[in-house]
């Protein structure tokens, strides 16, 4: 019994699918952000797994490029979370709700 790349790909796919469900199916803007974070996490797992099971990479630096990409994903996720949560607070302050079904100002 060994743990192979396929196991990590499967776990990553399941987490990504659950993230899609949360991001599309939740009414609260904060919950939607949580779904996006889950999807980013799944992609991070895939990047790290392919770096780990990559004996074909020429050297460690080439394989660890996957880890460097994960660092960038973490950076963008943190920036995105800060901006989205500021927007959620602003929308709540002006419209008394953060439920996406009820923010219909731009609906035709």
């Amino acid at each position: 019994m060994t743990v192979e790349l396929g196991h990590y790909v499967a776990v990553s796919g399941v987490i990504f699918g659950l993230g899609v469900i949360v991001a599309l199916g939740k009414r609260n803007a904060v919950a939607v952000l949580m779904g996006v974070e889950l999807m980013l996490n799944a992609v991070n797992l895939l990047l790290v797994a392919f770096a780990r099971f990559g004996a074909a990479f020429a050297n460690d630096a080439a394989a660890l490029s996957g880890h460097a990409f994960v660092i960038f994903v973490l950076t963008v996720a943190a920036a995105e979370a800060a901006v989205v949560l500021a927007m959620a607070v602003l929308v709540y302050r002006r419209r008394e709700t953060v439920e996406l079904d009820r923010i219909t100002l731009m609906r035709w």
């Binding site: 019994m1 790349l5 099971f53 394989a63 973490l74 979370a81 002006r94």
Partner: protein, 189 residues
């Protein structure tokens, strides 16, 4: 053939991560959903450790389980009780369909592919002697441009967040509320 610890650790951590993600969907209270999300993040950090990505695992705990979850809790606390529920929107059915289809597709490929044959050479596991040092050299070497752009992005995200939630003076706020009320009336009509 991995050691038993790695195999058991992988299955336990995968179960914890997926259970946390399921909890985010199932929780009725938004704060409970955030706590399930933290469990999922910590399980993911454990999975990174089983992949011998120690630096990424620590960064995951610090940034996701630490910073982002605190931001989420703050956002929930700044938007009082009325917005505390974690209900489903109208789009839960197509969303669940899309998510389950995507997950089923990826899992099917992962199970169906002949990893054992591939992992003989090209996909064998490699161990990294010094992840943090090599990642640091990559960040200020090959990816220095992306590194600088990321720093500018963080700066502007910080400024944008501050500008967005900055409290205006009272008369401005009252004017904005009146304006919003008018907009809401139009919408209702």
């Amino acid at each position: 053939m991995d050691s038993t610890g790695i195999v058991v650790g992988f299955w336990v951590l995968a179960a914890v991560t997926i259970a946390g993600a399921l909890g985010v969907i199932a929780a009725r209270d938004l704060l409970h959903a955030i706590f399930f999300l933290i469990v999922s993040f910590l399980g993911m950090a454990g999975l990174f450790i089983t992949l011998s990505a120690d630096f990424i695992a620590v960064a995951q705990v610090l940034i996701y389980a630490g910073a982002i979850s605190v931001l989420l809790v703050f956002a929930v606390m700044l938007t009082p009780l009325v917005s505390r529920d974690n209900g489903n929107s109208l789009y839960i059915a197509p969303g669940a369909l899309a998510g389950l289809a995507l997950a089923a597709l990826v899992v099917f490929v992962a199970v169906d592919a002949d990893w054992a044959q591939l992992s003989g050479d090209a996909l064998a596991a490699r161990s990294f002697p010094d992840t943090a040092a090599t990642i640091g050299e990559l960040l200020v070497g090959r990816y220095v441009l992306a590194f600088e752009v990321a720093s500018v992005l963080l700066l502007f995200a910080l400024l944008g967040a501050i500008v967005l939630v900055h409290e205006r003076r009272d008369d401005d706020a009252a004017a904005a509320r009146a304006e919003d009320g008018a907009a809401g009336d139009e919408e209702a009509a």
